[in-house]
């Protein structure tokens, strides 16, 4: 065994990958399974970090209880939502609206209608504080990133990339196609609840 890599332990349809002495990376097959794992672990005592991502959940602390909880998690069932519902008003005047409409073969008004009528869920956060990756984007709007990313995407910009939509909490470089902008505060580090969006939240965009 000396020269073998640490073989990830297989539990059902999960890979458990060791991540240092006190953390595990739980690897699954889809965003729905990520949500199921996160929901199964979120109420355990002693967890220091619980970080969902595209195909994994990173969990730090309480590893014994985590392993036990993972034995019984049903990956096929979407966890019951008991999350908050967040509404984000958007002015749909983004610089890539025409490009998105052209790519989808529909009008700009139809793009807005599609984007504003869907219900989204925060799959995970990352990239920047308070930046939530929202799933539930209608398939016509699944589009690639810009060929050349912008060096500065203004704060509050609402964009799409791949299967996700998101709003930029602050100005950063970015390659998402921008549909519009919101005035709402997405991240305030001094607020009691700093991030407007947290994994599991249900989100709707409305025309401002």
């Amino acid at each position: 065994m000396f020269n073998n890599p640490t073989i990830p332990r297989i539990m059902g349809h999960m890979f458990l990958r060791r991540c240092g002495p006190d953390a595990l990376l739980v690897e699954v097959g889809s965003l729905t399974e990520v949500a199921a794992v996160r929901a199964a672990l979120q109420d355990l005592d002693g967890i220091e970090e619980l970080v969902p991502a595209a195909r994994t959940v990173l969990v730090k602390g309480a590893l014994h209880d985590v392993r036990d909880a993972l034995k019984t998690v049903d990956l096929t069932r979407k966890p019951e939502s008991r999350s908050r519902e967040v509404t984000i008003p958007v002015v749909y005047d983004g610089p890539d609206l025409a490009l998105v409409a052209e790519t989808a073969g529909i009008t700009e008004d139809e793009v807005v209608k599609l984007h504003a009528e869907a219900t989204y869920e925060v799959a995970f956060c990352g990239f920047a504080p308070g930046f939530g990756y929202l799933t539930g984007l209608p398939p016509q709007l699944h589009q690639p990133r810009l060929d050349s990313p912008r060096t500065k995407v203004p704060q509050g910009s609402v964009g799409i990339a791949g299967e996700f939509t998101a709003a930029y909490p602050r100005a950063t470089p970015g390659g998402w196609r921008l549909l519009g902008r919101t005035e709402i505060t997405l991240f305030d580090p001094r607020a009691g609840q700093p991030a407007l969006l947290q994994p599991g939240d249900q989100v709707r965009f409305v025309v401002a």
């Binding site: 000396f2 020269n3 890599p5 640490t6 073989i7 990830p8 990958r17 060791r18 991540c19 240092g20 002495p21 006190d22 953390a23 990376l25 220091e48 970090e49 619980l50 970080v51 969902p52 991502a53 595209a54 195909r55 994994t56 959940v57 990173l58 730090k60 995970f124 956060c125 990352g126 990239f127 920047a128 504080p129 308070g130 930046f131 602050r170 580090p189 001094r190 700093p194 991030a195 947290q198 994994p199």
Partner: protein, 283 residues
Amino acid sequence: MSRSVTILRTGPQALVQDLGRPGNAHLGVPPSGAVDPHSLTLANRLVGNAETAACLELLLGGLTLRADASCTVAVTGPSTEVRVNDRLADSHQPVHLSRGDTLAVGTPRTGLRTYVAISGGIDVPAELGSRSTDLLSGIGPDPLNADDVLPLGTPGPAAGADVVPPHHAPHTLVVPIFLGPRDDWFEDAETQLRQGTWTVSDRSNRVGTRLNGTRLSRRDGEIPSEGMVTGAVQVPPDGQPVVFLNDHPTTGGYPVIGVVDRDHLRFLGQARPGTTVRFRPLT
């Protein structure tokens, strides 16, 4: 009257740091906090503060401050020259400053980061439960500038003093590392890590210690972004490893070959560019 100190000179970089804001990675917020928490908590104990109080973290020293009120200070980290009103004082000891006294911290003889605790702690507003400056995401106070006035909290009773030798950063580090979570992206990760030699790059910062040297051979491609822990050793396509320190991004898409043991991470955080690094894999 409120207590404060005034920064007269910062040196290359002076930041406010405490033990950071872990537990917020799911919001995309890095842990931040002192890169050498051992030295920060020691400095706090020396001046009678709670270990969680905010201190100054200095990169290569060079800071001068003026006490606007009577206070006790302590400088920790690697051995360094400390002066009060131009007279030599000791690091790793409580030092009393009267109102109007100046404290000057020299460049450490080895290592990178010194810590200055001030009785009462630096009392700037907390963000997500911490006063730490996060250089990656801009949370917390800005890096300090000359003429900044830092408010201090109420000092507690002096605690018993620790007796501590200063830390000497060695020229060669041997760093224990746990394999995984993505060691299966590398052919014989354990041997590659054990046989390689690297030096600390001058492009290192609080986000990560970048290493130059043996190219780690890995599969091509990227992983869908996944959560990253402090101490994770990411390997980009060029095969040159990056060890994530306190201001690391919460997610990343390069494979992590291993995770540096937490107790040894501070030695990497104190390693100057040019320091030789070897890994000792733990399986």
